[in-house]
Symmetry: C2
Subunit: 239 residues, 2 copies
């Protein structure tokens, strides 16, 4: 795969423009000239071969070839709802969840959470997603949802598919080893969910599942859940 | 769990001595006094409640209570053989593999590897294992084996249990979904194994398994393999 760049603005017909850091990288690091070939993706599951047509100070004009669609990956559409860890661990979390094909990340607001899902933090996560997509060849962005609670994260996920990482639960595989369309795994802060939060989770139909024998850090639990869910089968086609 | 410290030297009877950084932490950060209670582990699967009996410049004398054995974890004994990633990614790799219960890490010598498994690097990995054990409550150290090849890493692992991460393979779960005592997953460098290395792996009975839909970084693949293998069942007891 040649170097791939992210189109923040969707193409218009067969024309597109790279902006910001992406444009500066093409101009200054890659030192591209008009006529140079590269690949671009818009985060919705498509990529295009592209030819540089113009080089401006902060934008690169492109002529696009035919779009190529990324095949849907196997298995359920996975949402990971997680109390954000601190600092560099956030960047790791997003990089790994992107590589592992997670569909949606919901930053959880919890009583014992140590990192606020501020707009600036969410912006950083989104930039991390784009970088990871470029690295791992993924064309559909991991969606960083608005921060929420366990209940709001579970909206749209069937009751039997709402899981919560807890060392006291059974293996995730045993709880989710049949084909399904969507799956949610929630990971609490290092201090754990409070009794009130656990009661709310139980009321919302979350089942406890174990992801390993030891005390897992937040990002380890989330990455383990993504890894395991990535091995689950797809539902059989209807009809 | 109270703060746990690592005994680099095995106890003699009910007496033990903490040394080096562990001793300095107890003395200077924890500001422990004689009579203070803490927990120690020696990396072989046991921990002890302990009482401080003496505080020296670089060592802490301890009187130990009865040892407590960590129960064996479920599932196969997992070896991960991996071409080491660079820099901070090594520390992450070891931290996560320790948390996830991997038994043994073999640094792989490969043609396209970017980080040499030097004695200094292996020492750093071992220190990382101890720190991760303290963090996650694990009492048996992840073994950092001598650097080797795919063939040497596979010694003692039955042929059907030698797996190699490759996007072209089937899901790891499908290849290893029956109970087994031991399992080996090999992860190559970012540039991949060479044709010669792949041929040698095939000759040594390695089967290719997929860990996810996209191009995984080394440490992501290793962590994913550990997460998935951690969900596998234990063999039924003999007899």
């Amino acid at each position: 795969m040649s170097k791939r760049y992210f189109l923040a603005t969707p193409p218009v017909g067969s024309r597109a423009v790279l902006e910001g850091d992406e444009a500066r990288h093409v101009a200054r690091v890659m030192r591209a000239k008009p006529g140079e070939n590269l690949e671009v993706f818009d985060g919705t599951g498509r990529w295009w071969p592209a030819t540089v047509t113009g080089i401006g100070r902060n934008e690169i004009g492109l002529e696009l070839g035919d779009p190529v669609s990324e095949p849907d990956r196997d298995g359920p559409r996975l949402t990971v709802a997680v109390a954000l860890p601190k600092g560099d661990r956030q960047r790791w979390l997003v990089e790994k969840l992107t590589e592992l094909g997670v569909s949606r990340l919901v930053p959880l607001r919890t009583s014992r959470g140590v990192a606020e899902p501020t707009p600036a933090a969410v912006d950083r996560l989104r930039r991390g997603v784009v970088e990871a997509c470029k690295q791992c060849g993924r064309c559909r962005l991991l969606e960083i949802a608005a921060a929420g609670t366990l209940e709001s994260a579970a909206a749209g996920i069937p009751t039997g598919r709402r899981l919560l990482a807890d060392r006291g639960g059974g293996p995730l595989l045993a709880a989710a080893n049949s084909a399904c369309d969507s799956l949610l795994v929630a990971v609490g802060p290092e201090g754990g969910f409070t009794a009130e939060e656990m009661a709310a989770a139980e009321a919302a139909g979350f089942a406890r599942v174990s992801l390993g024998p030891h005390i897992l850090r937040i990002e380890t639990a989330a990455i383990a859940a993504a890894s395991i869910a990535g091995q689950l089968p797809s539902p059989a086609p209807a009809g």
